[in-house]
Structures are given as structure tokens and as C-alpha cells.
């Protein structure tokens, strides 16, 4: 059987991704690696926003939870806790002993579990509280934005436990391995790349199951799903929890690549920028989320230094134009059928109605 063109393309991209460390220089690799880490988070946004119709303006919170979980371990990795050693920022904040909740993070496996479970669990609990009272849509978006603001404010104000505005930085080892060398950077890149691929196929599978069908049904008519005797809440909570866990994984990998995590990466503005990546790439198409993330981030890297003022206009315009005229994003251009569906759906709902 002759392979379809998209399989050839997919295989070629996969090969390129694996071989990237041999093709580009270490700096470009570190950029690609950190943007791929963000792709994992973006695929989670595609799941909640595109497929479940839940817009979160607070994904930075879950990104931050994952990132800080790993960063706390990295901060403790080189210390001898039995000696009473503490991360330096605690000393400068006048803390006399390591706070109890830091101790378990000395264990790398515990920290790795937290990277997935803390954001996932928090996302589940938080969204359950909101969804169970049937509050959704715009309200949910606004509440998550307030959450992002509260989370970053809290991180900054609890300086003696979190490193405050400076965040956590200056990491050296993970599982006894030096992570500052170029060969370590290659390994971290490969781990990131493999995780992107795994998450991609996991979500493809998930969205093809009955669960995926129910999720889309909930998005398109939550009340109809309810009238048919299904409880929509667990479907939405699960989707949001998965997105939270993916954001956490993305955050942890991002921390490894960039060597720093600080409240600046988790607040209101970064959280909403995350949505732009997916809006530009395509909210209903998985590879669109990846393409959008890479495209917007590389563009930002190139444009923002040369013309910082232009970048802000461009970002604003990207937002307005992509949601107004290209709701299926760039990926929608390649999926003619789906684009048409999206357009038809929008045209059908153009008239405001009170029947909903």
C-alpha cells in the first residue's frame, strides 16, 4: 500500500525532530526545546478550548505549579538537608529552617509525580467547584483570569517560601546528572520531543473515543447532553484536569530548558498569550496547536528585540484577526472540510437568540 502524503510528511517531521540536535546549534536547540515544552501545554488548551468549549485564561497557574514542583526539587538537589542547608533565598528572607512542605521535594520521584498530579488535581478540584454549579463560558474565563492574578500575587508575596518575584533559578543537577552541559541539553531536548509526540498520539486517541464524542457534544449543547440523561460535569472536569496536567509537564520541561521559573511566566498576560498560540494555530486541530505555538514564539523571538513596539501591535492584531476571520486558525486552512464546518457553525449562530 502506498503511504498517504500526510504520513510521509509526519514521518519526515518526526525524523527532523529526532535529528534536530545534530542539525542546529546549541542555542537554537534550547529555543526549540523550550517552545516544544510549551506545545505540550498548548495541546491541553486545544483539548479544553477547542474540543470542550472551556476557555481558560489561567493556564499559567497549572504551568507554574508543574514548573515550581520540579524547580523546588532542583533547588534542593545539591543541598544536604541533614546539615540544615537551605536554598539561598530563604536565608536572605530571614527563614530559620526549611519549611516542612519543601522536604518531600528532595525526592526526585516525588517531585516528578507532583509535576503531573498537583496541577492535574488542582485543575480538577477547581473546575469541579465551578462546573458543578453550572457556571461556565465567559464566567469561567474570567474566574480563571482572576486565579492567574491571585496565583502570581501569592507567589510574589510568599517570598520566603517561593523565592518571590525572583523565582527559582541556578539549577545544577537532576538525578545526580549535571544539567548545564550541552549533552544534558540534548537529552532534555529528546525527552521533550518524545513527550510531545506521546501527548499528541494520546490526545488523538482520546478524542477518537466515546469520551471525545461526549466532550464535543457537551461543547455544542451542554443542556441537550443533560436532557439526554448524561451528567456533563465529569467530562468537562476530566478534560480540564488533563489540560492542567499537560500544562504542568510543559512547565517542568520549560524550567529545565530555560533554567529559571518566576512569577513573570505564570501571570495574567502569559496565560492569555498561551491562548493566542492555539488561536493562531487552530483550536480544533491538534497539530495546529503545535504549529501555532512554534510560529508565534519564534516570531516573538525574532521581532521583539528589533521592533519591540511593533511586536505588541502585531500580537494584538494577531488576536483580533485570527479570532475574527480565521477561527479555525492556520491549520483550518489545510482542513477544508473542517474549516467549512466551523464557518457554517458560526454563520448559523450569527443571530443572537434567547432560545439558548
Amino acid at each position: 500500500m502506498k503511504p498517504a502524503p500526510k504520513h510521509v510528511l509526519g514521518g519526515a517531521l518526526m525524523l527532523l525532530g529526532v535529528a534536530a540536535p545534530l542539525l542546529i546549534n546549541p542555542y537554537e536547540l534550547s529555543l526549540l526545546g523550550r517552545f516544544l515544552a510549551l506545545c505540550i501545554l498548548a495541546m491541553g488548551i486545544m483539548l479544553t478550548w477547542g474540543e470542550a468549549g472551556i476557555l481558560s485564561l489561567g493556564q499559567g497557574v497549572f504551568f507554574g505549579l508543574g514548573a515550581y514542583a520540579l524547580a523546588m526539587h532542583l533547588k534542593l538537589a545539591g543541598l544536604n538537608l541533614a546539615n540544615g542547608d537551605m536554598p539561598d533565598f530563604m536565608v536572605w528572607s530571614g527563614v530559620s529552617a526549611l519549611p516542612a512542605f519543601w522536604y518531600p521535594f528532595k525526592n526526585g520521584c516525588f517531585a516528578l509525580a507532583c509535576v503531573v498530579l498537583v496541577p492535574g488535581g488542582f485543575a480538577a478540584g477547581f473546575s469541579w467547584l465551578v462546573f458543578r454549579r453550572r457556571v461556565g463560558g465567559v464566567y469561567f474565563a474570567l474566574i480563571t483570569q482572576a486565579l492567574a492574578l491571585a496565583f502570581s500575587t501569592l507567589l510574589i508575596s510568599q517570598q520566603s517560601y517561593t523565592g518571590g518575584f525572583n523565582g527559582l533559578t541556578n539549577f545544577t543537577t537532576l538525578f545526580g546528572q549535571d544539567i548545564t552541559t550541552n549533552s544534558a541539553a540534548r537529552v532534555i531536548y529528546w525527552v521533550t520531543f518524545i513527550l510531545v509526540v506521546l501527548v499528541y498520539f494520546f490526545l488523538r486517541w482520546l478524542l477518537a473515543t466515546r469520551y471525545g464524542v461526549m466532550l464535543r457534544a457537551t461543547r455544542d449543547g451542554e443542556n441537550r447532553v443533560r436532557f439526554l440523561g448524561h451528567d456533563a460535569v465529569p467530562y468537562k472536569v476530566l478534560a480540564f484536569a488533563i489540560a492542567g496536567a499537560l500544562a504542568g509537564i510543559g512547565g517542568a520541561l520549560f524550567t529545565l530548558h530555560s533554567g529559571v521559573i518566576s512569577p513573570a511566566a505564570v501571570g495574567v498576560v502569559p496565560s492569555i498569550e498561551m491562548v493566542v498560540w492555539v488561536a493562531v494555530g487552530g483550536r480544533n486541530i491538534l497539530w495546529g496547536a503545535i504549529a501555532g505555538t512554534l510560529l508565534v514564539n519564534f516570531a516573538k523571538d525574532q521581532i521583539s528585540s528589533a521592533l519591540p513596539s511593533l511586536w505588541l501591535y502585531a500580537l494584538g492584531a494577531l488576536f483580533i484577526l485570527s479570532v475574527s476571520f480565521l477561527p479555525a486558525g492556520i491549520a483550518g486552512l489545510f482542513h477544508a472540510g473542517r474549516e467549512e464546518n466551523v464557518v457554517r457553525r458560526i454563520l448559523r449562530r450569527r443571530k443572537l437568540s434567547t432560545a439558548e
Binding site: L31, N166, S258, G259, V260, S305
Partner: protein, 400 residues
């Protein structure tokens, strides 16, 4: 001299024909990084700092560059985000092969860049006052340490007979650490702490804080608020009848540009502590101010971090000349042995711990937006990265 003139003419000629071709510089060029936030919340402070650093580079190039090489600044945007600072620092060192970098403003940006400079053993020149507690051979700290800004301000206030202190700051690292140190000294000197409050960065409502101040009745407020919060604070204090002439305020983050934007009438009479004021006497300062105005407009004002950024570039050039090399290790070794140089700040030098030895001044804001210098430390103060009273047993020694 003839060589230089020829170089200048050739540069003009080449510039017109080849637009930036470097052939006129016999020994080629050398790249340095300039890394500030050109976008985001910090751009407001960091863009003028970048301007000052570029002015210094221009002036050096006009005099023939350094070791016969033309200095080419590679400007990058840190975007007010620590991870972007780290990323761009890596890019400057690894891709552009710069010999040194001038930049950073927030401690968050410096902390994020520190591992990068250590990894590549490069050198960062950091020009802003900060909370100390850091000591790296890969950073030259020219901004004030706590014992060069906060503690002199306290000493001045004590000499004025103020006994009850209220500490107010934005909720982040510098105010919290500076106040930790101040509290130790307030207690140690037998003074009273009548209150301590923090407001989130960008906070705008001070009604509760002011109510607390009215209840605590301090003699003076030590203010470490950042940026716009100052405008809200002073406006709401004025609305409550607490103008600076009734209740003195000593600020650590208000300099000439902030005073100009906030309206000097609002702040007139309030105090600030810096290592530089635009109103400082001296030929070096006059030359700097007029050069800055000539390049960036007659209405522009300069402040302490900008002058530190400018002076960092100048001292780097002197150190390169002394070392006869652009190698970061040799440059930093040379920089700490230069001895006192004349600068817009007065006489300054880098101490062995790579922080700047400099004089502290207290200024009182005048209605025209300039500060009248009402006090200065007896001489240049030796920098102490670790306050001995607050962090006993810590010291900073960098082998040279």
C-alpha cells in the same frame, strides 16, 4: 592622532558608501551585548538605561574605540521576563560572541542571567541598586548595595531626630530584604518601628495603608514602593492631608524621571537617597548631562541607574585598556585594580568584591523636578554585599 582623524574620515566615507562597513577600523570590531527590557512593564525604566549605555559606546567609538577596535553593541530585548533575559544572554554569548554584556534591572533578571554568565565565564555589568546578598565573579555590581543607599538614609534620618519609622514597600524582593536589614538597624540603634506594610506590585489602593499610617503616627515613612504605585500613594496621601511637609517620606525608588512624570508639585519636599543626582556639581557630570541631552532631547532627564549604566561602559573600556585584552577574566581583574576614576557620580572605583565604592547622597525634591542635595556621606562608602548585622558571618571575597 592623525591615525584617528584618518579613521574618522574613512569611517564617514565608508559609512556613506557601504553603510556600516567596518573596513575603516584597522583592527576590526568587538561586540558587546546591551540587554535591557525594551518591552513589558520594565521598559519604562530600562529603555533610558539602554540609551545611556549606547551613549557611552558612541562616545568611546568617537574617540577611536577600544584597543583600536570599534565597539559594536548588540541590543536585545529582555521583555521584562527573567527567562527571556536568560535566553537572550545565552544568545549574546553563544551566537553573537560578545565579550561582555551591560544590562539587567530587576533582581529577577540578574538572578536568571547569573547561571548563564557562570557557565560561559563571561562578565555582566549590572547598574541598579539592589538588596545585596550576592557575590559572583561573573558580575560587576555598580548599583548601590544596602549599605550605600538604605543605611545612609537611615543614618541621616536618625541624625535629624526621627525616632518612629514606618516601612512601606511593594511586595517583592528588594523592599522585603531592604526592610529586613533596616529593621535590624532600627532595633539596634534604639529606634521604634511603628509599622510595616507591603502592597502588590502595581497596587493602586492605599486607603487601608494610609489609615494604618494615621493610626501609627510615625515620624518618617521609608518608602520602597516601585513605579506607578508611588503615584497612587502620594496622591492618596495628599488627599488625606498628609503632604511630604507634614509627614516626611524617604523614597529609594523615585528618581528624576519618575518625579518628572508624577508631577513634582505632588512630591515636592519628599526625600530620596541615591548615589547620583542630576544636580550634582562637577565637570564630568555637566559633560555627561549635556551629551545626553544633545543626543536624546533637551527635555530629557537622567538618573542614578542610567549614570551607572554609562559609567559601567566607561570603566569596562578602561579595564580593557589596562588588561590589554577583551578576555572577561582579565578585564574583571583589571577593573578592580583601576583605582578611583572621575565620573559623573564623583570619584568611584570597583572594590575587590566587584561592587562599586561610591558616595551616598540625600536629595530633597524641588518644585522644578530636580533634587537639592542636602546631605552626603563623609566619603565614598565601601560596598558590603552582606550586611554584618543581619547576616553575620557572611562575606564576599572574589579571588583575583
Amino acid at each position: 592622532m592623525a591615525m584617528k582623524k584618518f579613521g574618522f574620515a574613512a569611517a564617514l566615507l565608508a559609512g556613506t558608501i557601504l553603510a556600516g562597513h567596518t573596513a575603516a577600523w584597522a583592527d576590526g570590531t568587538v561586540k558587546v551585548g546591551v540587554l535591557q527590557s525594551l518591552s513589558g512593564t520594565m521598559a519604562i525604566s530600562e529603555v533610558p538605561l539602554e540609551d545611556a549605555e549606547l551613549l557611552a559606546i558612541d562616545q568611546l567609538n568617537a574617540k577611536g574605540g577600544v584597543l583600536g577596535k570599534k565597539i559594536v553593541p548588540i541590543v536585545e530585548d529582555g521583555a521584562s521576563d527573567p527567562s527571556t533575559f536568560a535566553q537572550k544572554a545565552t544568545k549574546l554569548i553563544e551566537e553573537d560572541k560578545v565579550v561582555t554584556v551591560f544590562g539587567g534591572w530587576t533582581s529577577a533578571s540578574r538572578k536568571a542571567m547569573l547561571p548563564v554568565f557562570q557557565k560561559f565565564d563571561n562578565l555582566l555589568w549590572y547598574p541598579v541598586q539592589f538588596e545585596g546578598n550576592e557575590c559572583s565573579p561573573n558580575i560587576m555590581y555598580s548599583g548601590a548595595q544596602p549599605n550605600q543607599q538604605a543605611l545612609p538614609a537611615l543614618a541621616w534620618a536618625e541624625s535629624k531626630g526621627y525616632k518612629k519609622y514606618f516601612l512601606l514597600g511593594s511586595d517583592y524582593v528588594y523592599p522585603r530584604t531592604a526592610n529586613l536589614i533596616l529593621k535590624k538597624h532600627i532595633a539596634h540603634d534604639g529606634m521604634t518601628l511603628s509599622g510595616e506594610e507591603y502592597v502588590p506590585l502595581g497596587g493602586t489602593d492605599f486607603s487601608s495603608v494610609i489609615a494604618e499610617i494615621q493610626q501609627a503616627k510615625p515620624d518618617i515613612i521609608i518608602n520602597t514602593l516601585n513605579g506607578d504605585s508611588n503615584v497612587s500613594f502620594f496622591k492618596q496621601m495628599a488627599a488625606a492631608g498628609l503632604t511630604p511637609d507634614k509627614l516626611p517620606v524617604m523614597s529609594f525608588s523615585i528618581a528624576e524621571p519618575e518625579a518628572k512624570a508624577m508631577g513634582p508639585s505632588l512630591l515636592a519636599g519628599s526625600y530620596t537617597s541615591w548615589n547620583y543626582f542630576q544636580s550634582l556639581p562637577g565637570a564630568a557630570n555637566a559633560a555627561f548631562v549635556s551629551a545626553y541631552k544633545a543626543k536624546y532631547g533637551a527635555g530629557s532627564v537622567v538618573d542614578d541607574p542610567m549614570v551607572h549604566g554609562y559609567e559601567d561602559v566607561m570603566i569596562w573600556a578602561d579595564a580593557v585598556k589596562k588588561a590589554g585584552s577583551f578576555n572577561p577574566t582579565k578585564v574583571r581583574d583589571a577593573a578592580v585594580t583601576l583605582g578611583f576614576v572621575e565620573s559623573p557620580l564623583g570619584k568611584v572605583k570597583f572594590a575587590d568584591n566587584q561592587s562599586m565604592v561610591q558616595t551616598a547622597y540625600i536629595g530633597k525634591l524641588q518644585p522644578d523636578g530636580q533634587f537639592k542635595i542636602i546631605w552626603s556621606s563623609p566619603g565614598p562608602i565601601t560596598p558590603q554585599p552582606y550586611d554584618p548585622l543581619t547576616f553575620p558571618g557572611k562575606s564576599c571575597t572574589i579571588p583575583h
